[in-house]
């Protein structure tokens, strides 16, 4: 029957190509919609998720009453009884499902000397994985050469400050390239207080608080200096989530850890802890995708810690992603419905037009199944063609929209952006859809054709 169907379709080429165009327009709008939607989602992925804002959970000990969560958790252990955020706890968190990594957040206020002038600022350690963070997209210079290199990356405004170029209110910020040029490769001296663990028996002034601790943790604090090389200046702010506490200069996390800088939390924690292991103030957890943040947060809360994520704070963003998905689905279904109606319409019209032909075929021995099969096959063939043409058309439409968007972005002085993406599954899915819908839409006209009374049909002129 398929062979006969193809020859029939070839016969009334105009009508059938119009139907096929109808199907392909449906498929094309589907493909264009979804490819733009997927592109937008990927863009959101690149721009929002990569910023680390949406897939990060900040874990703090309940002991840290300055926690991110202004509202303290109602349930769970009381702050004094809750576990400390130790290395063990960090490793446990890192092994939770859907957690990519969990690293301690090390930040301290420090004094930096640059060209004999002192600057006081917040320094933070950056894990090597932060390299892919989009905050470094417009960076001048390079990322840290290794995890242990004594190198720093400056935030643009701090770089400007080092150069004495603090912009006046109202005037434009200096560009990154401008501030980076004189700084890259230069050296900074950092002064900090190192905490050195000492045997409990030692008598050092700083450990007097630990004397009532049976296990006896003691440490001394020594003033140190280290020379750091400026390797990069970044335009955006990699630490934007931190608000007031954000750092303006960054070093590799390993380096920061090995410096054993005396941190404000140390004093209280070590006095409360039975062991010499230092506790972290904060651990940052990267989750595979923003949708899993909630589950990971819950798991960490069960361990007795406080958590904070921007997803908590911004339900509306989650809503945005949900609405985006829904919107795509709705438009996709509309396109499907339009395409399906077009197919049904053509096939039903074809029956009216071909009543006599059906009557003849039945009179000379065509069974209901033959007639049904013929119409079904015609629908299928149109579906196949419509699917292929539609995918090509949708691909082109998506490309054109992308091109137009980039022209617009260029006029607004933004870098070009890929907002359109056609994954292979969409191509296959769209063609498959066109075939399935055509076949489903063909069912009704086909069975109508099969039921046609040959005597009536032959009388029909």
């Amino acid at each position: 029957m398929a062979e006969l169907a193809v020859r029939n379709l070839r016969e009334s080429i105009l009508r059938n190509s119009l139907t096929t165009v109808g199907i392909s327009v449906g498929v094309a709008s589907l493909v264009a919609m979804l490819s733009l939607g997927i592109g937008l989602q990927q863009l959101a992925g690149r721009r929002l998720q990569k910023s680390g804002l949406f897939d990060t959970v900040v874990v703090t000990s309940r002991r840290d009453l300055r926690g991110f969560n202004r509202e303290q958790e109602e349930n769970g252990p009381a702050p004094a009884e809750s576990p400390a955020l130790t290395e063990d706890a960090r490793q446990k968190i890192a092994q939770l499902p859907n957690v990519l990594e969990a690293y301690p957040d090390i930040r301290f206020i420090t004094e930096l000397r640059f060209e004999d002038k002192p600057y006081l600022t917040m320094m933070a350690g950056l894990p090597f994985s932060a390299k892919n963070n989009d905050a470094f997209d417009g960076m001048q210079g390079s990322f840290f050469s290794s995890d242990t290199a004594p190198e720093v990356i400056l935030q643009k405004s701090f770089a400007a400050q080092l150069l004495g170029k603090t912009p006046k209110a109202g005037s434009d910020e200096p560009s990154v390239t401008e501030v980076a040029k004189p700084l890259l490769g230069k050296q900074l001296t950092m002064r900090y207080a190192e905490r050195i663990a000492t045997p409990a028996t030692d008598t050092v002034t700083a450990n007097s608080a630990a004397s009532n601790n049976p296990a006896g943790t003691a440490y001394s604090v020594v003033s140190r200096e280290v020379t750091l090389k400026i390797v990069g200046v970044c335009d955006l702010d990699p630490d934007s989530m931190r608000g007031q506490a954000r750092a303006r200069i960054f070093m590799p996390l390993e380096v920061a850890q090995n410096l054993h800088v005396m941190q404000p939390s140390d004093l209280r924690d070590t006095t409360n802890m039975a062991s010499g292991t230092p506790a972290y103030m904060t651990v940052e957890v990267h989750v595979k995708s923003p949708t899993q943040v909630q589950a990971v947060e819950d798991a960490i809360k069960k361990m007795g810690f406080n958590t904070f994520s921007i997803v908590d704070a911004t339900r509306s963003l989650r809503q945005f992603f949900a609405v985006l998905d829904l919107f795509l689905g709705i438009f996709g279904s509309l396109a499907l419905a339009v395409a399906s109606i077009g197919i049904i319409n053509t096939l039903v019209m074809a029956i009216l037009e071909r009543r006599r032909e059906i009557g003849i075929m039945k009179a000379i021995g065509a069974s209901d199944g033959d007639v049904k099969g013929l119409f079904f096959a015609e629908a299928g063939v149109m579906g196949v063609f419509g699917g292929f043409v539609g995918v090509a058309l949708g691909w082109t439409i998506g490309r054109v929209i992308n091109l137009g968007t980039n022209v617009y972005l260029k006029r607004q002085h933004f870098p070009p952006e890929q907002i359109w993406f056609v994954p292979w599954w969409l191509v296959i899915g769209a063609i498959g859809f066109a075939i399935v819908v055509s076949l489903l839409s063909g069912l009704y006209p086909a069975s109508r054709a099969a039921r046609l009374d040959p005597v009536q049909a032959l009388r029909y002129e």
């Binding site: 006969l4 020859r7 029939n8 016969e11 009334s12 006599r356 032909e357 009557g359 003849i360 075929m361 039945k362 009179a363 000379i364 021995g365 065509a366 069974s367 209901d368 199944g369 033959d370 040959p454 005597v455 032959l458």
Partner: protein
């Protein structure tokens, strides 16, 4: 397929008993076929005669299995058509009967080859064998040179010959013809009738032909059955004279 001497073969091929086909058109009940009983022997050439609306075409459609009787039976070679499923009826139309019509009923979008090939497709004959069979059938009606022509490119006589070829392609034992010469001039009509007679005589096909032309029936048919208002009003064998009773009370 039983080829052979029709005169010696007197077994009953079609038995029609008290056959009725009524349908309602608005308020009125139309009795298209109203209690007909008749038997047709294998190899006979029967003409069904009557005015328009006498029910002759309705009777032919019932024999062809295109229509269902309201009551009564049509038994063709021991198959009661009323008891066949739609699928079985299609098979019956495909293999047991061949039909030709006054308006030829070739499919205009198809070439002659494709038109004649159609029943072979429905019969699921291998593609390789089909073309040979089609050429053979068209050859028999003298149309082998026009395989690739569309019906509209042919004369009426040629179209009717093509539809004869199509009716024969699956080697049925019955040929049902509904006014086969109705749209043709007398000379072309004679040509078609000669083919039909030849099928009757050489292939042993049983022919049932609907016509309103008595002369034609007298010239070719071995038996004439007269219908009026859905009823059988006369049944004559091999009568050439014009003494047969005319149908009465005719609607025109």
């Amino acid at each position: 397929m039983p080829a052979g001497e029709s005169s010696l073969n007197n077994s009953i091929a079609i038995r029609i008993e008290n056959l009725c086909r009524h349908y309602s058109m608005g308020e009125a009940l139309i009795r298209a076929v109203d209690g007909i009983s008749v038997q047709i022997a294998s190899g006979e050439f029967v003409a069904l005669l009557g005015t328009s609306g006498s029910g002759k075409s309705s009777l032919l459609n019932l024999i062809a299995g295109l229509d269902h009787p309201t009551s009564g039976t049509v038994v063709v070679e021991k198959h009661d058509l009323a008891k066949l499923s739609r699928e079985e009826l299609a098979k019956y139309r495909l293999h047991t009967v061949g039909m030709v019509f006054q308006s030829f009923n070739l499919i205009p979008s198809m070439t002659l080859l494709e038109n004649v090939e159609l029943p072979l497709r429905f019969a699921e004959v291998d593609r390789g064998k089909r073309e040979g069979l089609v050429k053979q059938a068209l050859d028999r009606v003298g149309l082998s040179a026009r395989l690739r022509h569309r019906p509209t490119e042919l004369s009426g006589g040629e179209q009717q010959r093509a539809s004869l070829a199509r009716a024969l392609i699956n080697q049925p034992r019955f040929l049902l013809a509904d006014e086969p010469t109705g749209n043709l001039d007398s000379q072309t009509g004679t040509e078609i009738m000669n083919f039909i007679r030849e099928f009757n005589e050489t292939l042993g096909m049983t022919i049932i032909m609907v016509t309103h032309e008595r002369a034609l029936a007298e010239r070719y048919a071995g038996r004439m059955i007269f219908l009026a208002d859905g009823k059988l009003v006369g049944d004559q064998s091999n009568v050439v004279s014009a003494t047969a009773k005319e149908t009465r009370g005719g609607r025109s």
